[in-house]
Amino acid sequence: MPETNGAPKIGVYVCHCGVNIAAKVNIPEVVEFARTLPFVTVARDYKFMCSDPGQELIQQDLREGRVNRVVVASCSPLMHEATFRRATAEGGQNPFFFHMANIREHVSWVTADEHKATEKAKALIAAAVRRVAFHEPLEKKRVPVHPHVLIVGGGIAGIEAALKIAEAGKKVYLVEREPTIGGHMAQFDKCFPTLDCAACILTPKMTQVRAHPNIKLLTYSEVESVEPYDLRNFKVTIRRKARYVNEDVCTGCGLCADVCPVTVPSEFDEGLGTRKAIYRPFPQAVPNVFTISRRGTPPCQAACSIHQNAQGYITLIAHGKFKEALDVILRDNPLPSICGRICTHPCTVNCTRGTVDEPLNIPGLKRFITDLFPDYKLPTPTKERPEKIAIVGSGPAGLMCAYELRQRGYKPVIFEAQPVAGGMLSVGIPSFRLPRDVITKEINRLKEIGIEIKTNTPVGKAITLEQLRQQYAAVFIAIGAHVERKLKVPGEDLPGVFGGIEFLRRVNLEGPFNLGERVLVIGGGNSAVDAARTALRCGAKEVTMVYRRTRAEMPADPKEIEAAEEEGVKMLFLAAPKTILGNKETGVTALECLKMKLGAPDASGRPAPEPIPGSEFVLSCDAIIVTIGQVPDIASLGERLGLETTTWGTFKVDDVTLETNVPGVFAGGDCVTGPDVVVNAMYAGKKAAISIDRYLNKLDMRAGREREGPYRTEYTIDTSGTPLQKQIPMPAIELARRRTFEEVHTGYTKELAIAEAKRCLDCGICCDCRLCATVCEAKAINYEMKDEIQEIVVGSIILATGFKLFDARRIPRYGYGKYPNVYTALEVERMTNSAGPTGGEIRLRDGRKPKAVGIIHCVGSRDRNYNSYCSRVCCLYSLKLAHLIKERTGAEVYNFYIDMRVPGKAYEEFYDRMLEEGIHFIRGRVAEVTDHAMTPDEEGKLVIRAEDTLIGVIRRIPVDMVVLAVGLEPQADADEVRRKFYISCGSGGFFLERHPKLAPVQTFADGIFIAGACQGPKDIQDTVAQAGAAAAEVLSLIDRGFVELEPNTAFIQEELCSGCKTCIPLCPFSAISFNSDKGVAAINEALCKGCGTCVAACPSGAAQQHLFTDEQIYQEIEGVLSYV
């Protein structure tokens, strides 16, 4: 048991608090009652116990030994506990021989009935008396305050506080989430009521912040977390978002922005103006450096198997920068002129524009560039390596692999069985879609950079795989899938029945030949469509495609199907071949088919076709082309080094590395996947090249390859308000000419290409064209930059996170977003600014000068449906805008207000001045803004309907421009932020101060302060004043160097602790540990914050809490119940 002061002699002191208590509580009666309580030796009352004479009463009784424990019945302990503890101490007793009964906040102010109030007061006093008898003497402990300060928010509040503290020689971290400090004030033109220029008074302070040695400015950064560092100080984690521009090197010259092709609405100009993807919010920004907005890889690029940067070249095309576009294309694609023609373009499928009207014709644009520069060259390798690598097959997979390897310095050698290189590209795709010379050129470009291609060299005959493996550092097998699937119906071997690929190969290599009049093509894939269109060009009169399912299930590209139909190809759906009729002599004469119907979905997810029994019918024909898929010709390779294959007759490979079961031998493309599109074959080639490179350098072949190949982007784009404009069709030769092998599409002209490119929505914002890097002399730009995490320790934090404006769209009846000439106040503010989007001109959207302007007050404020509070600044800034509008345009200005709220120095005078200037004031909340004209003079105007409550009539005021005086709201993430900083939000969602009058910038979390509009709507004057106050609070803390903590910590009575460990996991501050020598729990007082959770849970009562022992609380309970 602690030393103590003998038998209790308790003094009870009841405060009148003027009339605050006395008016409700019968003080004499209470005092009388107090005298009757056990151990009470003195009971007195006084008008103001907190006053000096009041405290003197207590001290005398203590000094003269009448009393050794004190109960004061007055206001809330949160208000004056400290005061009376001091008094007790000065009276010579330990300050904790004191307890307070809250008979003001909890009694006199909340109780209607005087008798009941008196009773309640008695009960609380009885409780306090019983409790204080069990109080023990305690010592407050001191904890040092770390001298560093964190300020969150770089608006005028943050700036002001930072400068004040830094001036006092203390270290300040100023964190701002935007690229520059300045906050809302930087957007203002003039400040009321003095109409002085905001920039003129703000920017000097901003530069001081930048220059100040004691301020560490962290812009474009956000606080991630705040953890207790010790009992009183904080460990703060800050995320420094990647700017992609090196802050220390950038000179702010702005050349980058000049060349940047991406234009987006400027946040700083409230969307009235534009900025580039690499930008600086405004010329005086601090720090005066640029930032690149990157939303991430755009959907088109992400969806592309080889991640071709489509947005990049599209944006450049839109700006007529064609050469630059070519460079972007060649960054990741060695076969662009081929892809530009025949790629199935997953990019387009995922194009965001597709959700608005139609996707962009991305391949078309790529083709445009390659057509424009027919003689472009591929980049040449920058280094050379000795290793030779064998590649089997010169299809897109083989070519891509060779190219990627070559770029890494290797010497790839391609072995091709066919007389021409290109694989399926050359033999499987008809030249009216992909002219031969295009292929030849692409292949020559590859040869030019040192890729060797051996045609007519079938591996397995000319040379064996085994030899390749011995002679080459690595082998990549990409033999494609060239063996036709069979229908397996009678008569399939009759003359006049062709495999689709066989047919296409023959036409491609030997030229067109006669098939007869009527041709049937069986199958629904791209090759089938190619075959059909080729058949037409071979002179067939009637070509019909026979497909088991319906159009919806056809795997072929819809555009190709359309093209085929245009050319006259007929479609026969839900029909499957049963027998091919004819004989050796006549050859095929007809096809017997079965009608089909769609059944339940099969493995491919498409509905499975089911034959309808007895529905046979016959189609007569002269030739049948069967194009129902292909498989790899693995047999042709001869002995296969025991390479494993799948049941589908494809090679078995590791899907991450494409390595086969034989080390150093890789396989990819159709011979692994089965028939697939070009771009996926190229993807395989690229993948293999990466694997081979790692394999030869003995690197981990799997690490960090997740993002190879197609994926979906995480973000979504807001496309609302995008004007509709469908895709611009690519010119093609007229139908009549589509009987030859002339290429069908002729490609975009420059004008068309630019127009089509302009449809791009800039999903990724920065399009990664990297032009900025080319002009940056300081070499400040770094596309690889990553977010950085920084940890600091501080003793005090000031939150100055400011406000956000009410979103006027939430009140549709005011027409914001519907009527172009309805603006928010801040938008007009920007217009009035000479550096703003209109160079200081106040204009309507169509450029006219407004003749009449209506300003609607309290938009989103003083309205139960939105915010019930008054935003305080709107009346004044409306007056300011009224003045500026009248001054700049001479327009009639109408203010619609509920009440004019202009308290504050020189505000009323400002209001008077506006009245004299002839601004109109109409008292009444506006009902609606409408373009519904009822009289001629309302035609073409916006009509403001409002009740004029002063004359009691509904008025309709026609105006050209409406300005909405939107209110102030807490930041969207205020709740998240306050949780981070352990503080609360008050009504309206603004940060809650510790006391509305006496602690306006303190919070309930020690060491955390608030300043400016994050605490509640306020103007610049008040904001700056609060910032000063917060700075003063912080400085006084730092200068004292320590804080005293309430000694309400928990402790363990070891003689009673069984070491059951119940308390240990409950402590939120990990203050409790297990002392295994003694086998008992131990509380680290330096970490305990005194919540008492462990005490409540301790099953043997061994844990107790100072100031809140079980017995003290029991006594209080008995007390409050002993007198009701």
């Binding site: 009673l1056 069984s1058 070491g1059 460990k1061 409950l1066 099953p1099 043997s1100 009562g1101 061994a1102």
Partner: protein
């Protein structure tokens, strides 16, 4: 000089406490040697009259086990109080009310209704229930039975108690220590519970296996799991009340894979055993979701029976609230 006289008496209890005395085994001889047992109905034929005949304080010490349920038990308790210098509450029932104390969840009428009428094993067509007085035949002799009270009480809720020997039954070790203390006159201040004032974990063989940060993701009952005979039972999800219960028994139950049910009662600092035990268990539930918490707690099928198994009469609420009952003490 004559040996100090000692008495044993048996109120509402199972008799296990008497067994405990026998369990002293050869030690009992020491006792018999040292003292003169003058009242022990369960073992020797003494009548109430013999006690009444004694002088006040004639008994050096009297060990009373069992709770107080009937008028007869009240009278005996008072009588023995007069005749004894030391009155010792012996065992959980007299210490805290014990298992019989759980009857405080009902009252006399409800109990009679069940025991004499509703219980499945009862055939009582005439619905006869015990009467305090029954006239016998012609001679008008009135047979009387003790009154059956609504509420079960611990011994110290009826008479002054000097010491408490906790446990169901009290562990032999504690009994021996107590007797020796009396003989050697080395007694602690009156009102003390004659057992260590630390919880059971202190002497639990499984203590070392208890994790520092225990979080209960599920609560189990012994028959629901294969119990690891080494590991802390709480850590296995069993509701073991060791952390809330006085030590001194040597943790025999826990050693036999049986979670502690709390017969030695709370430590000196705890006002309400059940509440504290409950608080400790609940605090360790590993969830912050209201529904989930409730769901987890459902696994404690009988909270009162679990947390107040031995201590309901001595608890703050002491008995179930009866609608319409008027406040004020009643017995």
């Amino acid at each position: 000089m004559s040996k100090p006289k000692v008495g044993f008496y048996w109120c509402a209890s199972c008799g296990g406490c008497e067994e405990a005395v026998v369990d002293l085994a050869e030690d009992v001889l020491k006792v018999v040697e040292a003292v003169d047992i003058v009242f022990w109905p369960v073992a020797l034929d003494f009548k109430r009259a013999d006690v009444e005949a004694m002088k006040d304080g004639e008994l050096a010490a009297c060990f009373v086990n069992g709770a107080i349920r009937t008028s007869e038990q009240e009278e005996m308790a008072e009588l023995l109080r007069e005749k004894s210098q030391l009155l010792i509450a012996f065992g959980s029932c007299s210490h805290l009310g014990g298992i019989p104390g759980l009857a405080n969840l009902w009252d006399r009428q409800a109990i009679f209704e069940y025991v004499y009428k509703e219980a499945p094993s009862v055939t009582n067509p005439d619905g006869v229930v015990p009467q305090e007085q029954t006239k016998l035949g012609s001679n008008g002799y009135v047979l009387t039975l003790p009154a059956f009270r609504d509420t079960v009480r611990a011994l110290d809720q009826v008479v002054e108690v000097d010491y408490y020997l906790p446990g169901c039954p009290p562990p032999v070790k504690l009994i021996v220590n107590a007797v020796m203390a009396i003989l050697e006159n080395k007694l602690p201040p009156k009102g003390t519970v004659l057992a260590p004032d630390k919880a059971l974990c202190e002497e639990c063989p499984r203590k070392p296996t208890k994790p520092d940060k225990l979080a209960l993701k599920e609560l189990k009952r012994p028959h629901q799991i294969l119990i690891d005979s080494e590991k802390c039972l709480l850590a296995q999800g069993l509701v073991c009340l060791g952390p809330a219960t006085r030590s001194g028994c040597g943790a025999p139950c826990v050693s036999a894979n049986m979670p502690c049910t709390g017969c030695l009662g709370p430590t000196s600092r705890v006002k309400d055993y059940g509440a504290k035990a409950l608080s400790a268990i609940a605090s360790l539930i590993d969830s912050e979701d209201e529904q989930e918490i409730a769901a987890l707690m459902e696994h404690i099928v009988d909270p009162v029976g679990t947390f107040y198994r031995y201590s309901l009469p001595a608890s703050l609420l002491h008995r179930r609230v009866r609608r319409g009952a008027t406040g004020g003490a009643q017995a």
